[in-house]
Amino acid sequence: MVKITFVESNGTEHPCEGDTGMTLMEVAIKNDIKAISADCGGACACATCHVYVRQDWQDKTGQANDLEEDMLDFAVHVKDNSRLSCQIKVTDELDGIVVDMPENQY
Protein backbone atom coordinates (compact mmCIF):
# COMPACT_ATOMS: atom_id res chain seq x y z
CA MET A 1 0.00 0.00 0.00
CA VAL A 2 1.19 3.46 -0.94
CA LYS A 3 0.16 6.46 1.16
CA ILE A 4 -1.30 9.38 -0.79
CA THR A 5 -2.76 12.54 0.70
CA PHE A 6 -5.18 14.72 -1.24
CA VAL A 7 -5.52 18.27 0.05
CA GLU A 8 -8.55 20.44 -0.69
CA SER A 9 -8.13 24.13 -1.52
CA ASN A 10 -9.40 24.96 2.00
CA GLY A 11 -6.62 22.85 3.53
CA THR A 12 -8.69 19.77 4.43
CA GLU A 13 -6.47 16.70 4.13
CA HIS A 14 -7.66 13.29 2.91
CA PRO A 15 -5.11 10.58 3.72
CA CYS A 16 -5.64 7.58 1.41
CA GLU A 17 -3.96 4.36 0.46
CA GLY A 18 -3.56 3.06 -3.07
CA ASP A 19 -2.12 0.02 -4.78
CA THR A 20 0.71 0.31 -7.26
CA GLY A 21 -0.59 0.32 -10.81
CA MET A 22 -3.69 2.36 -9.95
CA THR A 23 -3.81 5.99 -11.00
CA LEU A 24 -4.05 8.81 -8.46
CA MET A 25 -7.49 9.57 -9.91
CA GLU A 26 -8.66 6.03 -9.19
CA VAL A 27 -7.40 6.29 -5.62
CA ALA A 28 -9.32 9.56 -5.19
CA ILE A 29 -12.55 8.13 -6.63
CA LYS A 30 -12.26 4.95 -4.54
CA ASN A 31 -11.95 7.14 -1.47
CA ASP A 32 -14.91 9.29 -2.47
CA ILE A 33 -12.95 12.53 -2.74
CA LYS A 34 -15.52 14.93 -4.16
CA ALA A 35 -12.98 17.51 -5.37
CA ILE A 36 -11.93 15.07 -8.10
CA SER A 37 -14.73 14.72 -10.65
CA ALA A 38 -13.16 12.47 -13.32
CA ASP A 39 -16.11 12.81 -15.70
CA CYS A 40 -14.57 10.69 -18.45
CA GLY A 41 -13.45 7.87 -16.17
CA GLY A 42 -9.72 8.10 -16.85
CA ALA A 43 -9.52 8.48 -20.63
CA CYS A 44 -7.49 11.73 -20.40
CA ALA A 45 -10.43 13.37 -22.13
CA CYS A 46 -12.10 15.77 -19.71
CA ALA A 47 -9.56 17.53 -17.46
CA THR A 48 -11.74 17.18 -14.37
CA CYS A 49 -9.26 15.25 -12.20
CA HIS A 50 -6.85 18.19 -12.03
CA VAL A 51 -4.30 18.27 -9.18
CA TYR A 52 -1.17 20.23 -8.26
CA VAL A 53 1.96 18.19 -7.61
CA ARG A 54 4.23 19.78 -5.00
CA GLN A 55 7.73 20.59 -6.22
CA ASP A 56 9.59 17.98 -4.18
CA TRP A 57 7.48 15.22 -5.80
CA GLN A 58 7.70 16.34 -9.40
CA ASP A 59 10.78 14.24 -10.21
CA LYS A 60 8.94 11.12 -9.09
CA THR A 61 5.64 11.80 -10.86
CA GLY A 62 7.35 12.91 -14.07
CA GLN A 63 5.96 15.55 -16.41
CA ALA A 64 2.72 15.78 -18.36
CA ASN A 65 2.95 14.39 -21.90
CA ASP A 66 1.64 16.28 -24.94
CA LEU A 67 -1.87 14.81 -24.78
CA GLU A 68 -2.15 15.67 -21.09
CA GLU A 69 -0.86 19.22 -21.75
CA ASP A 70 -3.53 19.57 -24.43
CA MET A 71 -6.21 18.47 -21.99
CA LEU A 72 -4.90 20.84 -19.32
CA ASP A 73 -5.91 23.67 -21.67
CA PHE A 74 -9.47 22.73 -20.74
CA ALA A 75 -8.83 22.73 -17.01
CA VAL A 76 -9.43 25.73 -14.82
CA HIS A 77 -7.00 27.27 -12.28
CA VAL A 78 -4.05 25.84 -14.24
CA LYS A 79 -0.62 26.42 -12.71
CA ASP A 80 2.94 25.37 -13.60
CA ASN A 81 2.61 22.26 -11.41
CA SER A 82 -0.80 21.20 -12.76
CA ARG A 83 -1.31 17.55 -13.68
CA LEU A 84 -4.25 15.30 -14.45
CA SER A 85 -4.39 12.68 -11.72
CA CYS A 86 -5.61 10.00 -14.18
CA GLN A 87 -2.20 10.19 -15.85
CA ILE A 88 -0.13 9.63 -12.70
CA LYS A 89 0.43 5.96 -11.85
CA VAL A 90 0.90 4.95 -8.24
CA THR A 91 4.40 3.54 -7.69
CA ASP A 92 6.27 2.59 -4.49
CA GLU A 93 8.35 5.74 -5.02
CA LEU A 94 5.26 7.89 -4.48
CA ASP A 95 4.70 6.62 -0.92
CA GLY A 96 3.83 9.67 1.19
CA ILE A 97 3.02 11.99 -1.72
CA VAL A 98 0.81 15.00 -1.05
CA VAL A 99 -1.16 16.56 -3.89
CA ASP A 100 -3.24 19.70 -3.76
CA MET A 101 -6.57 20.07 -5.52
CA PRO A 102 -8.07 23.16 -7.14
CA GLU A 103 -11.13 24.87 -5.68
CA ASN A 104 -13.26 23.41 -8.45
CA GLN A 105 -12.86 21.29 -11.58
CA TYR A 106 -15.16 23.28 -13.86
Binding site: D39, A43, A45, C46, A47, E69, D73, F74
Partner: protein, 348 residues
Protein backbone atom coordinates in the same frame (compact mmCIF):
# COMPACT_ATOMS: atom_id res chain seq x y z
CA UNK B 1 -44.79 27.70 -30.48
CA UNK B 2 -44.12 25.28 -33.30
CA UNK B 3 -46.42 22.44 -34.25
CA UNK B 4 -46.59 19.63 -31.73
CA UNK B 5 -44.69 16.52 -32.78
CA UNK B 6 -46.57 13.35 -31.81
CA UNK B 7 -44.64 10.13 -31.55
CA UNK B 8 -44.44 6.89 -29.57
CA UNK B 9 -41.30 7.63 -27.60
CA UNK B 10 -39.13 10.67 -26.98
CA UNK B 11 -35.57 9.69 -26.11
CA UNK B 12 -33.59 12.33 -24.24
CA UNK B 13 -29.92 11.80 -25.11
CA UNK B 14 -28.42 10.31 -28.27
CA UNK B 15 -25.50 8.52 -26.64
CA UNK B 16 -24.90 4.79 -27.14
CA UNK B 17 -27.74 3.76 -24.86
CA UNK B 18 -30.24 6.21 -26.40
CA UNK B 19 -29.25 4.95 -29.85
CA UNK B 20 -29.75 1.32 -28.88
CA UNK B 21 -33.13 2.22 -27.40
CA UNK B 22 -34.26 3.19 -30.93
CA UNK B 23 -33.52 -0.38 -32.00
CA UNK B 24 -35.25 -2.08 -29.08
CA UNK B 25 -38.30 0.17 -29.33
CA UNK B 26 -38.34 -0.25 -33.11
CA UNK B 27 -38.44 -4.03 -32.95
CA UNK B 28 -41.64 -3.62 -30.96
CA UNK B 29 -43.18 -1.13 -33.42
CA UNK B 30 -42.49 2.04 -31.50
CA UNK B 31 -41.14 5.11 -33.33
CA UNK B 32 -38.72 7.44 -31.62
CA UNK B 33 -37.59 11.06 -31.71
CA UNK B 34 -34.24 11.82 -30.06
CA UNK B 35 -33.13 15.11 -28.58
CA UNK B 36 -29.50 15.90 -27.77
CA UNK B 37 -27.61 19.04 -26.80
CA UNK B 38 -24.61 18.06 -28.93
CA UNK B 39 -24.55 18.56 -32.70
CA UNK B 40 -24.04 14.86 -33.39
CA UNK B 41 -24.97 11.40 -32.08
CA UNK B 42 -22.75 9.40 -29.72
CA UNK B 43 -22.81 11.37 -26.48
CA UNK B 44 -19.65 10.97 -24.42
CA UNK B 45 -18.35 8.34 -26.87
CA UNK B 46 -18.31 10.91 -29.66
CA UNK B 47 -17.58 14.05 -27.66
CA UNK B 48 -15.06 12.90 -25.05
CA UNK B 49 -13.26 9.92 -26.56
CA UNK B 50 -14.10 9.34 -30.25
CA UNK B 51 -10.66 7.84 -30.97
CA UNK B 52 -10.13 5.96 -27.73
CA UNK B 53 -10.69 2.22 -27.75
CA UNK B 54 -13.41 0.64 -25.62
CA UNK B 55 -12.65 -2.97 -24.61
CA UNK B 56 -15.81 -4.08 -22.79
CA UNK B 57 -18.54 -4.16 -25.42
CA UNK B 58 -19.64 -7.80 -25.73
CA UNK B 59 -18.55 -9.29 -29.03
CA UNK B 60 -16.30 -6.35 -29.87
CA UNK B 61 -12.82 -6.92 -28.43
CA UNK B 62 -11.83 -3.37 -29.35
CA UNK B 63 -13.94 -0.55 -30.75
CA UNK B 64 -13.46 3.23 -30.71
CA UNK B 65 -16.12 5.58 -29.38
CA UNK B 66 -16.79 6.83 -32.89
CA UNK B 67 -16.94 3.34 -34.42
CA UNK B 68 -19.40 2.20 -31.77
CA UNK B 69 -21.54 5.27 -32.46
CA UNK B 70 -21.46 4.63 -36.22
CA UNK B 71 -22.40 0.97 -35.75
CA UNK B 72 -25.29 1.85 -33.43
CA UNK B 73 -26.54 4.40 -35.96
CA UNK B 74 -26.45 1.73 -38.66
CA UNK B 75 -28.29 -0.71 -36.40
CA UNK B 76 -30.98 1.88 -35.62
CA UNK B 77 -31.38 3.08 -39.23
CA UNK B 78 -34.17 0.62 -40.26
CA UNK B 79 -36.42 2.23 -37.65
CA UNK B 80 -36.11 5.68 -39.20
CA UNK B 81 -35.50 7.71 -36.03
CA UNK B 82 -35.72 11.51 -36.09
CA UNK B 83 -32.88 13.43 -34.46
CA UNK B 84 -33.10 16.91 -32.97
CA UNK B 85 -29.55 18.09 -32.24
CA UNK B 86 -28.25 21.27 -30.54
CA UNK B 87 -31.23 21.36 -28.24
CA UNK B 88 -31.72 20.99 -24.55
CA UNK B 89 -34.90 19.50 -23.15
CA UNK B 90 -36.22 22.06 -20.73
CA UNK B 91 -39.68 20.86 -19.77
CA UNK B 92 -41.41 17.59 -19.02
CA UNK B 93 -45.05 17.67 -17.98
CA UNK B 94 -47.95 15.28 -17.77
CA UNK B 95 -50.88 16.05 -20.08
CA UNK B 96 -53.04 13.08 -19.09
CA UNK B 97 -52.55 9.49 -17.95
CA UNK B 98 -51.36 8.48 -21.40
CA UNK B 99 -49.39 11.50 -22.58
CA UNK B 100 -46.24 13.37 -21.61
CA UNK B 101 -45.27 16.71 -23.13
CA UNK B 102 -41.59 17.43 -23.72
CA UNK B 103 -40.37 20.92 -24.61
CA UNK B 104 -36.93 22.15 -25.71
CA UNK B 105 -35.01 25.41 -25.54
CA UNK B 106 -35.78 25.83 -29.26
CA UNK B 107 -39.51 25.91 -28.38
CA UNK B 108 -40.31 22.53 -29.90
CA UNK B 109 -43.13 20.53 -28.36
CA UNK B 110 -43.33 16.74 -28.38
CA UNK B 111 -46.14 14.56 -27.11
CA UNK B 112 -45.68 10.87 -26.45
CA UNK B 113 -46.89 8.14 -24.12
CA UNK B 114 -43.29 7.17 -23.40
CA UNK B 115 -40.27 9.29 -22.47
CA UNK B 116 -36.89 7.61 -22.15
CA UNK B 117 -34.25 9.57 -20.26
CA UNK B 118 -30.89 8.34 -21.54
CA UNK B 119 -28.99 11.47 -20.63
CA UNK B 120 -25.78 9.89 -19.30
CA UNK B 121 -23.91 12.36 -17.11
CA UNK B 122 -26.35 15.11 -18.02
CA UNK B 123 -26.12 17.68 -20.75
CA UNK B 124 -22.84 18.96 -22.11
CA UNK B 125 -22.43 22.61 -21.35
CA UNK B 126 -19.52 24.99 -21.90
CA UNK B 127 -16.95 25.21 -19.14
CA UNK B 128 -16.66 28.62 -17.59
CA UNK B 129 -13.19 29.98 -16.90
CA UNK B 130 -12.56 30.79 -13.22
CA UNK B 131 -12.80 34.57 -13.57
CA UNK B 132 -14.53 36.46 -10.75
CA UNK B 133 -17.91 37.97 -11.67
CA UNK B 134 -17.82 36.57 -15.22
CA UNK B 135 -21.57 35.97 -14.91
CA UNK B 136 -22.15 39.73 -14.66
CA UNK B 137 -21.11 40.06 -18.30
CA UNK B 138 -22.69 36.88 -19.68
CA UNK B 139 -24.97 37.58 -22.64
CA UNK B 140 -27.87 35.24 -23.32
CA UNK B 141 -29.14 37.04 -26.44
CA UNK B 142 -27.29 35.30 -29.29
CA UNK B 143 -27.88 38.23 -31.66
CA UNK B 144 -26.08 40.67 -29.34
CA UNK B 145 -22.29 40.20 -29.51
CA UNK B 146 -21.49 42.38 -26.48
CA UNK B 147 -20.31 40.69 -23.30
CA UNK B 148 -19.33 37.08 -22.62
CA UNK B 149 -20.45 34.32 -25.01
CA UNK B 150 -19.60 30.60 -24.86
CA UNK B 151 -20.64 29.94 -28.46
CA UNK B 152 -21.14 31.86 -31.68
CA UNK B 153 -24.59 31.37 -33.14
CA UNK B 154 -24.75 34.50 -35.34
CA UNK B 155 -21.43 35.84 -36.65
CA UNK B 156 -23.06 39.14 -37.57
CA UNK B 157 -23.54 39.86 -33.85
CA UNK B 158 -19.77 40.29 -33.48
CA UNK B 159 -19.31 42.75 -36.35
CA UNK B 160 -17.19 45.81 -35.40
CA UNK B 161 -16.55 44.52 -31.87
CA UNK B 162 -13.26 44.42 -30.01
CA UNK B 163 -13.14 40.66 -29.59
CA UNK B 164 -11.12 38.71 -27.06
CA UNK B 165 -10.92 34.92 -27.54
CA UNK B 166 -9.39 32.57 -24.99
CA UNK B 167 -8.33 28.96 -25.62
CA UNK B 168 -6.01 26.90 -27.80
CA UNK B 169 -8.22 24.34 -29.50
CA UNK B 170 -10.16 24.21 -32.74
CA UNK B 171 -13.13 26.23 -31.46
CA UNK B 172 -10.91 29.08 -30.32
CA UNK B 173 -8.82 29.15 -33.50
CA UNK B 174 -11.77 28.70 -35.87
CA UNK B 175 -13.50 31.72 -34.39
CA UNK B 176 -10.33 33.80 -34.43
CA UNK B 177 -10.06 33.11 -38.16
CA UNK B 178 -13.77 33.53 -38.94
CA UNK B 179 -14.46 36.62 -36.86
CA UNK B 180 -11.20 38.52 -37.46
CA UNK B 181 -12.30 39.92 -40.88
CA UNK B 182 -15.47 41.48 -39.42
CA UNK B 183 -14.10 42.47 -35.99
CA UNK B 184 -12.83 45.91 -35.05
CA UNK B 185 -9.95 44.18 -33.28
CA UNK B 186 -9.10 40.58 -32.45
CA UNK B 187 -7.06 39.36 -29.49
CA UNK B 188 -6.26 35.73 -28.74
CA UNK B 189 -5.10 34.60 -25.30
CA UNK B 190 -3.82 31.13 -24.50
CA UNK B 191 -1.98 29.83 -21.46
CA UNK B 192 0.96 28.45 -23.47
CA UNK B 193 2.46 29.03 -26.90
CA UNK B 194 1.38 25.60 -28.13
CA UNK B 195 -1.98 25.17 -29.86
CA UNK B 196 -3.68 21.82 -30.21
CA UNK B 197 -5.97 23.07 -32.99
CA UNK B 198 -5.55 21.81 -36.57
CA UNK B 199 -2.05 22.79 -37.84
CA UNK B 200 -3.54 24.64 -40.81
CA UNK B 201 -5.61 26.86 -38.48
CA UNK B 202 -2.57 27.51 -36.29
CA UNK B 203 -0.51 28.55 -39.34
CA UNK B 204 -3.25 30.89 -40.53
CA UNK B 205 -3.56 32.43 -37.07
CA UNK B 206 0.24 32.93 -36.86
CA UNK B 207 0.18 34.62 -40.28
CA UNK B 208 -2.50 37.04 -39.06
CA UNK B 209 -0.40 37.77 -35.97
CA UNK B 210 2.60 38.55 -38.22
CA UNK B 211 0.43 40.88 -40.30
CA UNK B 212 -0.66 42.69 -37.14
CA UNK B 213 -4.31 41.67 -37.59
CA UNK B 214 -4.49 39.45 -34.49
CA UNK B 215 -2.93 40.27 -31.12
CA UNK B 216 -1.61 37.11 -29.48
CA UNK B 217 -0.87 36.95 -25.75
CA UNK B 218 0.39 34.00 -23.77
CA UNK B 219 -1.11 34.04 -20.30
CA UNK B 220 -4.40 33.88 -18.44
CA UNK B 221 -7.31 36.28 -18.09
CA UNK B 222 -7.71 37.13 -14.40
CA UNK B 223 -10.38 39.81 -14.35
CA UNK B 224 -13.01 41.44 -16.51
CA UNK B 225 -13.55 45.18 -16.51
CA UNK B 226 -16.71 47.14 -17.26
CA UNK B 227 -19.51 49.27 -15.91
CA UNK B 228 -23.18 48.44 -15.43
CA UNK B 229 -22.70 45.00 -16.97
CA UNK B 230 -21.10 46.47 -20.13
CA UNK B 231 -17.78 44.78 -20.81
CA UNK B 232 -14.93 47.12 -21.77
CA UNK B 233 -11.74 45.20 -21.06
CA UNK B 234 -9.90 42.35 -19.39
CA UNK B 235 -6.82 41.99 -17.22
CA UNK B 236 -4.25 39.52 -18.47
CA UNK B 237 -1.54 37.89 -16.40
CA UNK B 238 1.13 37.03 -18.95
CA UNK B 239 3.29 33.94 -18.61
CA UNK B 240 6.19 36.40 -18.15
CA UNK B 241 6.17 40.05 -17.18
CA UNK B 242 3.69 42.48 -15.68
CA UNK B 243 -0.12 42.27 -15.98
CA UNK B 244 -1.62 44.12 -18.92
CA UNK B 245 -5.10 45.33 -19.81
CA UNK B 246 -6.79 44.37 -23.06
CA UNK B 247 -9.61 46.33 -24.69
CA UNK B 248 -12.59 44.17 -25.46
CA UNK B 249 -16.34 44.49 -25.85
CA UNK B 250 -16.85 40.78 -26.56
CA UNK B 251 -15.18 37.90 -24.73
CA UNK B 252 -15.39 34.34 -26.06
CA UNK B 253 -13.80 31.72 -23.78
CA UNK B 254 -13.46 28.21 -25.28
CA UNK B 255 -12.52 25.78 -22.51
CA UNK B 256 -14.39 22.71 -23.72
CA UNK B 257 -17.51 21.13 -22.32
CA UNK B 258 -18.57 19.70 -19.04
CA UNK B 259 -21.61 17.67 -18.02
CA UNK B 260 -24.39 19.09 -15.90
CA UNK B 261 -27.66 17.45 -14.87
CA UNK B 262 -29.53 20.62 -15.87
CA UNK B 263 -33.34 20.81 -15.98
CA UNK B 264 -33.76 17.05 -15.27
CA UNK B 265 -33.48 17.89 -11.57
CA UNK B 266 -36.65 20.00 -11.81
CA UNK B 267 -39.01 17.33 -13.14
CA UNK B 268 -40.07 15.90 -9.81
CA UNK B 269 -38.45 12.50 -10.37
CA UNK B 270 -36.96 10.54 -7.48
CA UNK B 271 -33.28 11.47 -7.46
CA UNK B 272 -30.42 9.95 -5.53
CA UNK B 273 -27.16 11.93 -5.75
CA UNK B 274 -28.20 13.41 -9.11
CA UNK B 275 -29.14 10.00 -10.53
CA UNK B 276 -32.68 8.88 -11.30
CA UNK B 277 -33.99 5.99 -9.22
CA UNK B 278 -35.52 3.15 -11.23
CA UNK B 279 -36.63 -0.42 -10.66
CA UNK B 280 -34.70 -3.28 -12.25
CA UNK B 281 -37.66 -4.98 -13.89
CA UNK B 282 -38.60 -2.27 -16.37
CA UNK B 283 -36.21 0.64 -15.58
CA UNK B 284 -39.18 2.87 -14.94
CA UNK B 285 -39.13 5.94 -12.73
CA UNK B 286 -41.82 6.67 -10.17
CA UNK B 287 -43.82 8.38 -12.97
CA UNK B 288 -45.78 6.10 -15.32
CA UNK B 289 -44.33 6.29 -18.82
CA UNK B 290 -41.01 7.89 -17.83
CA UNK B 291 -38.07 5.52 -18.02
CA UNK B 292 -34.39 6.16 -17.26
CA UNK B 293 -31.64 4.02 -18.77
CA UNK B 294 -27.84 4.15 -18.93
CA UNK B 295 -25.51 6.20 -16.73
CA UNK B 296 -28.28 8.56 -15.60
CA UNK B 297 -30.12 5.93 -13.54
CA UNK B 298 -29.38 4.18 -10.28
CA UNK B 299 -30.55 0.98 -8.61
CA UNK B 300 -28.97 -1.50 -6.22
CA UNK B 301 -25.88 -2.96 -7.90
CA UNK B 302 -25.87 -0.45 -10.77
CA UNK B 303 -22.73 -0.46 -12.91
CA UNK B 304 -22.12 2.47 -15.23
CA UNK B 305 -21.28 0.34 -18.23
CA UNK B 306 -22.54 0.75 -21.78
CA UNK B 307 -23.53 -2.93 -21.77
CA UNK B 308 -25.74 -2.38 -18.73
CA UNK B 309 -27.50 0.42 -20.59
CA UNK B 310 -28.16 -1.91 -23.55
CA UNK B 311 -29.83 -4.45 -21.26
CA UNK B 312 -31.86 -1.70 -19.62
CA UNK B 313 -33.04 -0.49 -23.06
CA UNK B 314 -34.37 -3.94 -23.94
CA UNK B 315 -36.36 -4.36 -20.73
CA UNK B 316 -37.62 -0.77 -20.91
CA UNK B 317 -38.91 -1.33 -24.45
CA UNK B 318 -40.83 -4.48 -23.51
CA UNK B 319 -42.61 -2.62 -20.75
CA UNK B 320 -43.15 0.58 -22.74
CA UNK B 321 -44.95 -1.50 -25.41
CA UNK B 322 -47.96 -1.85 -23.13
CA UNK B 323 -48.32 1.93 -22.89
CA UNK B 324 -47.95 2.56 -26.61
CA UNK B 325 -49.98 -0.43 -27.85
CA UNK B 326 -52.34 -1.24 -24.96
CA UNK B 327 -54.62 -3.39 -27.14
CA UNK B 328 -51.90 -5.59 -28.60
CA UNK B 329 -50.37 -8.70 -27.17
CA UNK B 330 -46.60 -8.72 -26.96
CA UNK B 331 -44.93 -11.94 -28.05
CA UNK B 332 -41.26 -12.31 -27.26
CA UNK B 333 -39.33 -13.06 -30.45
CA UNK B 334 -35.77 -13.52 -31.64
CA UNK B 335 -34.24 -11.64 -34.59
CA UNK B 336 -32.59 -14.89 -35.70
CA UNK B 337 -35.87 -16.68 -36.31
CA UNK B 338 -38.78 -14.23 -36.42
CA UNK B 339 -39.90 -13.35 -39.93
CA UNK B 340 -41.79 -10.32 -38.69
CA UNK B 341 -38.73 -8.92 -36.86
CA UNK B 342 -36.60 -9.58 -39.92
CA UNK B 343 -39.08 -7.67 -42.08
CA UNK B 344 -38.82 -4.69 -39.75
CA UNK B 345 -35.04 -4.87 -40.04
CA UNK B 346 -35.32 -5.02 -43.83
CA UNK B 347 -33.39 -8.28 -44.07
CA UNK B 348 -36.22 -10.55 -45.16
Amino acid sequence: MSETIKTDAVIIGAGPVGLFAIFELGLLDMKAHLIDILDKPGGQCAELYPEKPIYDIPGMPEVSGQQLTDQLMEQAAPFDPTFHFNRMVTGLEKIDDKTWRVTTDENEVFEAPVVVIAAGGGSFQPKKPPIPEIDVYEQTDTSNGLGVHYAVRKMEAFKDQDILISGGGDSALDWVLNLQPIAKSMTLVHRRDVFRAAPDSVNKMRALVDEGKVNLHIGQITELVGENGQLSGAHLKPAEGDPIEINCTSFLPFFGLTMKLGPISEWGLNLNENLIEVDTEKFATDQDGIYAIGDINTYPGKLKLILSGFHEAALMAHHAFKRVHPDQKLTFQYTTSSTSLQKKLGVN
